[in-house]
Amino acid sequence: MNSIEYILFITFIGAGLTFIVHHALPKLRDTLAILVSALDLYFVIQAISEKSKVVLSIADFHLIWKTTPYNNLFAVLIAVLGFLTILYAHDFMSSKDRLGYFYMNFLFALGGMYGIVYSQDFISLFFFWEIMTWASFLLVIYCCKDAQPIGLKYFVFSAIGAYSLLIAIVMLYSLSGNLELTNLISNFSNFSVSNQLIVVTLLLLGFGVKSAIMPLHVWAPGAYFISPSPFTALFSGALSKMGIFGIGLVLFKFAAQSGYFSYVQIILAWIGGITALLATFYAIFQTDAKKLLAYSSIGQLGYIIIGLAIGTPLSIASALFLTILHAAFKAMLFMATGAVYFRTGTTDMNSVSGLIRKMPFSFITALFGIITVSGVPPLGGFAAKWMLYESLIQSRHYFLVIVVFAASTAAFLYLYRFIFSLFLGQEEKEWEDVKEAPLLMVIPMLILSAFVLVVGVFPGLILDPISQSMNYLGNFNFNYETSVLFNEWGNQVDMQTVVNTIGAVFLIVGLIITFKGFKKTRYVSTKDIHTSGEIPQENENLTYAVDFYKPFERAIAPILKSSIDKIYTGIANNLEQAFDYLRYVYTGNGQTYAMYVVFFLSLLILFAELIFGINL
């Protein structure tokens, strides 16, 4: 057996085993799950050097899995994130019931993702796509009754996506009689233009649903919100990246072969841009931390899609860079939120506040997370954003760059609100007894925080595998050094200098201000504040959280008026109503049914020749 076989085998068998173990030896369950994900990680790394290939014949198809640089990139992402989230889940989930179900589906989702990224043919891709989808669906509805409609919405959208994938696959099969990726890629230019266009559109639609691009995103906020936090981290960090994985593949392996590629690029890039902007605006007005992060996630995927769609080397690099980074920082943020939830039982930003001194590590994680999201140097987010802007400007997408910039500036708003509401502000009595999350939850968060810091200083570390996978996607070369980024005009940003400067100034001034009058500097509680002479009462609410961005909301009110979600709900309701009318043909009267038969008979007789032809 080679590594890929091990990975698939271990994950799926492990998934089944955890379910059984949960009922037999509940104590071993978590250990087993962690072990499975650790083994996966080991074999994923093993697979990189091994160059494994697996061929499995099932039905009439050859299912092929192979390692390519592009596959490895995503596989490592999944493996690392999977391991950390399962580690995190151990304590987070400890008080929940139905853990066998949870871990089984968690591992199924992981296994589905491995199957997708390594697949070299569309059947296995679709097969595992579906497994991943239903495993994640089962995790979305895991919590409670309220999750059911949300889960159903997620499933319906996933099904629409999956089935448009399937239509494309079926079309490809009927066009070329084969579903192996390498074959299809080389055959693709032989298809007629309209077929090419339909296939590409359908594939993009299918992958786009998973990556929640704008008109198809409505499942995401609810699903991210309601799923248990360890899974949300994986969901947003890795699972949604499967869409990105597919889009990258479709764009550069298929669409790039045809003449209308530039139109596809522009449309997709603008969809990404609008996604980023609107999702950011929606995120600003959420009152729940997880929903806020969910919208943020949609927005970030918008950037990634822009990067892929632009298709210059620098932009693809930025997209892939952001893909990895987003996995890290969104996992960090969801984990930090999860830690808050674990201790306080809520993620409502209007009720939680002032946890910074109670949960310092969660705060640091959240802080690093938001700095990375915002793209402020010196953390990793800056490198990604920088490459994106440079490539947008240099590929002459002038207005798109404005949209993107507006989106990422507006992102400061929700990011600040996120960290302010949960960790800063008044330290209220209600949360006096809150403690830091358990060690096993803190460790993954800190590991990821360290990662974003290192990547921020040395983006080259990640750009190495990225440039390899870009060479797999096409002939994309770009210039970079371990800590220096270059744009296409040759201008540079030297992260080392930047970090040194920031670090030095910060340290010097920080030390001065700390030690100047150190003994006379007092800490006072947050009740001891300037309130224009009035002394705040013990139980007086001094937290400013509700309607935090009311002025901004007033400013952009026209944009927020329309809701895509409502349109979909309307359509769904009307359809159900229509279906409801339709079943009234079954009147319940036997005679009516007999009438149908006779009516159908006479209809057929009347139009016999028309229907059955004369060459019977």
Binding site: G517, V524, I529, T543
Partner: protein
Amino acid sequence: MEINWSTILGIIFTPIIAFIVGVTYGGLTRVITARVQNRYGPPIFQNLLDIIKLYSKESNINHGVMQHLGPVFAITASVTTLFFVPVIKDSTVFTNFSFHGDLIFLLYIMVFGSLGMALGAGQTGNPNSAIGVSRGLSQLVGYEVPFVMALVAIMIQFQTTNLNDLLAVQDHFTKWIIFQSPFAFLAAILAFLGMMGYAPFDVVIAPAEIASGPPSEFGGKYLGLMLTSRSIFTFAKLVLFTDIFLGGASDFITLLIKTFILYMIPVLTGIVFPRYRTEQSIRFFWSWPLFFGIIAILVVVF
């Protein structure tokens, strides 16, 4: 690593010069405002005296580590911005690190300080601070958009994102970008009004309404540090605008003249205008400045 004395000199002297100039400009503002309003006003060095007084306060209070670090974030951003802007054109000393960063980097490092301050202000638990931050960030979204449009227009026009390259282009005063790309300048200077935070865009600190907003809980060494940072940052921004639009400066006299002229624009506007509400100012930035920005880009494209 070989020791580069000019760099070290630059690192030491640039912040000091920036601080002195910034503080003096701050004092001048108060004088000018007073004169316009038919008052006598404080001495020019009042701001410097204030800062010295604040530093010399013996006892200080804070509400936690983020408040403690907030001003540090702010000054880090100010100084870093300053280091990545070529203060004196073609000078080996005052170019600092401007070759190692570009305009987009500057855009981001410029908000670094405000965000750090916002975090510090947030921890104080003073609702007024939070309200101020909310307003400030909203306004930030407002003016960043036209500003970026102006920058994008310029970047496209001159095919560079580095300030030194832009300086190299403007070797004669007819080639100053203010003349080559007037709409970009218009968009940028209107955004600059917001950036400086004078009236009509001073809703963030609105002293009478929300007790100065974000800085309201800061005192002593913290406030001193903030004011220091503010002075340096003002100078850095002025130099940046001078470099972009007015062809930079080859010596200090020119630099002072150009920056002073630029500086007077927000100051004088601030004296004559009343205060905008947050949504009004956002709408303002998204009307004329945005329009100028679009024109600027369209002009470049066609």
